[in-house]
């Protein structure tokens, strides 16, 4: 039986009816049409489903939508504002840190959470922060460079 919940996504309230066993990643993608958040392993290993809940990075494949009723969620769609990319998005493009792009939304959100907490991270701190985000394409060097560059740009 579906439950009626409210999810505040990127500042906008969405009222949805969801079965209690559905995970946030699926509700975001299938019910709200916000497909920027990707599905990878479904088990909390790869980080492609990373979103921010109350500003904290979580794996949305392991978050029950009903358990987050009333919560504030930030997805990749919420980063740009007034038609302008977020500094992290610009840096990723400028530094060539995007290849297939599948890991990118999750990694950028994780980086945002890092920079919100620690605006001047060291390289080891950046690497530790993105340890839960797998990238099969880039080898991480340009991803790390992009995050450090975005940090300097602030």
């Amino acid at each position: 039986m579906k439950r009626h919940i409210t999810l505040i996504v990127n500042g906008a309230p969405y009222q949805v009816a969801v079965e209690p066993y559905r995970y946030l990643v699926d509700v975001l993608r299938d019910d709200l049409g916000l497909t920027g958040t990707k599905k990878g392993c479904g088990h909390g290993h790869c980080g492609t489903c990373t979103v921010l809940v109350e500003g904290k990075a979580i794996n949305s494949c392991l978050a029950l939508a009903v358990d987050l009723d009333g919560g504030n969620i930030t997805t990749i769609e919420g980063l740009a504002s007034d038609g302008q990319w977020h500094g992290l998005q610009k840096a990723f493009v400028q530094e060539g840190a995007v290849q297939c792009g599948f890991c990118t939304p999750g990694i950028i959100l994780m980086a945002k959470a890092l920079l919100d907490e620690n605006p001047t991270p060291t390289e080891p701190e950046v690497r530790a922060a993105i340890a839960g985000n797998i990238c099969r394409c880039t080898g991480y060097a340009k991803v790390v460079k992009a995050i450090l560059s975005a940090a300097q740009g602030r």
Partner: protein, 290 residues
């Protein structure tokens, strides 16, 4: 993989429901529960969210030592300025678990109650001489954390019981402690061997107390009491550390699995026990100076 969901308004409601319904699983962070449901290892009929229950929350001083509510996230333990200052062995261990995304929701209670032999929070809590307080329809009871673990994924929790908190007594002022986690990767790995060591010194630099907790090398996390006894009351010399490490190796019963062989684990218990004791000792010695 379909289940119903409840969020009880009180601890009493939660424990009563869990006691009544054999098909109900408690939900804290969900980072171990949901992968198991998705893999069809378990098929609960109900998931009972413990979110917001005040009795399971909070961390702070208690009984002269410290208490940690079961719902405390691993990330909170990792980053709390108080924890990092007072019990760095715990915040350090917390930082070895999973990823930031996992640590933001995973809880101390979940790590303990899922009782995987390699659970990272357990060896340090054993080394702090922690007690576990359980709460159920019959009320509260406490037991030494060592007695909480009965086997892989098997705990002393009775139907309807939840882990409420862990707490540990104060330590002598001159103490040091570390958790060393051996893994194939720098993150996102289960421990091949986990060693926690706490060493406390008296004013003369002799070992007042020593505790060694091992994870991933027996059906449950264990204390190496024979190894500890070698150091207690003695001046800690390199040869004493060597003997304690050797004894620690004898107190584990690891298995062969895809991560490592039994033989390698035994060897690493000795190496890492010696290393952990050495680092804990150095920390304690630094506290006596200046």
């Amino acid at each position: 993989m379909r289940f119903d969901y409840l969020r009880p308004a009180s601890l009493e409601e939660a424990t009563a429901f869990l006691a009544r319904e054999a098909g109900a699983q408690p939900l804290a962070g969900g980072t171990d529960l949901f992968p198991r449901i998705k893999d069809r290892l378990i098929s609960p009929k109900y998931v009972v969210s413990l979110k917001g229950l005040p009795e399971l929350q909070g961390m702070g001083p208690g009984g002269g030592g410290w208490r940690l509510g079961a719902l405390t996230t691993i990330r909170a333990v990792e980053t709390s300025p108080q924890m990092r200052q007072l019990y760095p062995i715990l915040s350090q261990a917390a930082g070895t678990l999973g990823s930031v995304q996992v640590r933001n929701v995973a809880t101390v209670g979940g790590n303990l109650c899922h009782a995987v032999p390699s659970a990272d929070m357990v060896p340090p809590l054993l080394a702090l001489d922690a007690q576990a307080t359980l709460v159920g329809p019959q009320g509260k009871r406490s037991l030494p954390l060592e007695k909480f673990f009965l086997g892989p994924r098997l705990t002393a929790l009775q139907p309807g019981e939840l882990l409420m908190e862990v707490a540990w007594p104060p330590l002598p002022s001159r103490w040091g402690g570390v958790y060393i986690k051996l893994g194939h990767r720098q993150a996102m790995d289960l421990a091949i061997v986990g060693v926690a060591a706490v060493v406390a010194l008296d004013a003369a630099g002799r070992c007042l107390d020593c505790r060694i907790g091992l994870g991933a090398v027996a059906p449950t996390p264990v204390r190496c009491r024979h190894a500890e006894a070698i150091l207690r009351g003695e001046k800690v010399t390199p040869s004493a550390l060597e003997r304690a490490a050797e004894m620690g190796m004898g107190e584990c019963q690891p298995i062969d699995d895809m991560r490592a062989s039994r033989r390698y684990r035994c060897d690493m218990v000795k190496v890492l026990t010696r290393r952990a004791l050495g680092q804990a000792l150095e920390q304690a010695q630094r506290k006596g100076q200046g």
